[in-house]
């Protein structure tokens, strides 16, 4: 169920990016898509009732191996690292997109992409 909602969010973002005519709304649509993918990545590592994947003193059995409880209950930390990276990248692209929007507005005086049409053919 959460996966379906996440996919719904992705579709909403895609719809917004493809259909809307305002440049800022298109940017928002793309960002909604990116966040839905981030959400999906976080959910991949999620476990109901899981614990943080930090090895404490109680988690090590003699001999250096981890306890069964730790292995079965800790969440997967890798997707969280991926999401952090993805968020930084999407921040960079968001900044660039918004600055291009502002420069375009200065030149054309509008955000409407149907009126920003000098390139044809």
């Amino acid at each position: 169920m959460p996966y379906a909602l996440c996919f719904l969010l992705f579709i909403i973002g895609l719809y917004c990016a493809v259909v809307k005519k305002n440049m800022v709304k298109i940017v928002i649509g793309i960002m909604v898509m990116e966040y839905s993918v981030n959400l999906f990545l976080v959910m991949l590592g999620f476990r109901t009732g899981g614990t943080a994947p930090i090895i404490g003193r109680d988690d090590i059995v003699t001999g250096g191996t981890l306890t069964e409880l730790f292995i079965n209950s800790s969440v997967d930390p890798l997707p969280q690292a991926l999401v952090l990276t993805a968020i930084v990248i999407s921040l960079g692209s968001l900044a660039l997109m918004i600055s291009i929007c502002i420069r375009t507005y200065e030149k054309y005086g509008t955000f409407d992409i149907t009126r920003i049409r000098r390139l044809k053919g």
Binding site: M23, I30, G92, S93, R103, R118
Partner: protein, 513 residues
Amino acid sequence: MSVPLPVFVAVPLVTAFLLPIFGKKGKSAATFLANIATIALLVLAIASIGQSNVYKIGKWPIPLGINLVYDGLSSLMLLVISVVSAAAMFFSIRYMEQYTAKAKYLSLFLLMVAGMNGVVLSGDIFNLFVFLEIASLSSYALVGFGCQHEELEASFKYMVLGSIASVFILFGVALVYGNTGSLNMAYISQAIQKSGLNAGLGFALGLFITGFGLKAALVPFHAWLPDAHPSAPAPISAMLSGVLIKALGVYTLARVLFNVFGVTIPIGWILVVLGILSMVAGAFLAIGQWDFKRLLAYSSISQLGYITLGIGLGALIIARAGKDITAEQLAWASLAILGGLFHLANHAVYKSLLFLTSGSVEMATGTRQLKHLGGLAEKMPVTRATCTVASASIAGIPPFSGFWSKLILVIAAIQAGFYWVAAIIVFVSLCTLIMYLKVQRYVFLGELPENLQQTKENKGSMLVAMVFLACLCVLMGLLLVPGLRETILTPAVNVLTGGYSYSADVIKAAGGM
């Protein structure tokens, strides 16, 4: 000689961050440093031909750590990237004098090179995404570099489609991780070999084809390319059309389809159909263009179709034969892929040369409308000569390089029994000839307009870069000579025809679990 692999990413990355320090006063120092960096990369790429190794970042064993893989295909791509970037960078010395903020331009240029080198070396699918984003983000900024009406519009269009493609790819990466539990391409490939494709992986495959197809501007996804490539400054157009769409689109597509997911008959057909659509549609749209650079951009789509078609034919032959592939079938598949990859290298050289000559014409005359040009043959002899060499090459006139790669593709298509494909290849080649005759006729022949009487040939670095690439156009045919072929092209082909053996090779070389 063994070159440590992170150098290919570190050199341009570090230089890129050093350059903005120079500011306005140290412009010549910044230019010098940037050129040193690209030439050093070219030397390193040539020096490391023939080695194959796996570098584990931070000495973490795979699949725990991130690894860089250098094999035949990466070697070919690295070589192409560094040749074109060295030429384009040298061309920029003089050409970029007309823009302000040259240091920032050089810095973005090197960031793009760092991203592309990272993409072709990465052995980890999430890292591939990160490097792909580095290269794409800097290319969005470079397309809008002039900050004029058209450039901003093109940059926005490119950026929206590029970002959607990136999100698709990231979604695919997430699905692959969820289904196989690994991000290392070798281990993903192993997991897929064991369990086969399930629904999630199939969806991820679709997302990858769409995402990388958008980056490669294959025909249903091509809308951004004819706007974005002409709007950038000429050396950047050369980089974008010459290598960026190949490193980010075709290379990644080939790597993911052949080495990670494994080729199947539907995938082979998808590649062949995308390739033929791009070839035909790109050529038809190019003939009608009156803007010099826009014509070149449409022709890029068409030429990219050839590359995809070659790779797709190879995939189709391998997938049809299945497990018990005969030596003869493998030979034809290798020939088709060889044609595709050789065309990739050739196209990088002559299309970047064509974009550089268009920049030279635009700088000398101030226009790139074919109807306003004419009769420049005597005024700009070097530009004319190099442009003719490149046009002859792209149209497939022997003995220039383009002829050989197209010939190989035709032979492979006929041997595989696809006679209609061979016919289409020849037909599109004819269309290409027509569009470049048009360029020659309207730019260099005919009458010289009144306002262009004072036109002078450009000097210095621009000429050197163009002549360098023109010499390569003539000499590239030599890559097929036995001896040279075994060092550069054959290893690249073997990586793709080997398919799943990629994962075994990487794991063995890395000493993994």
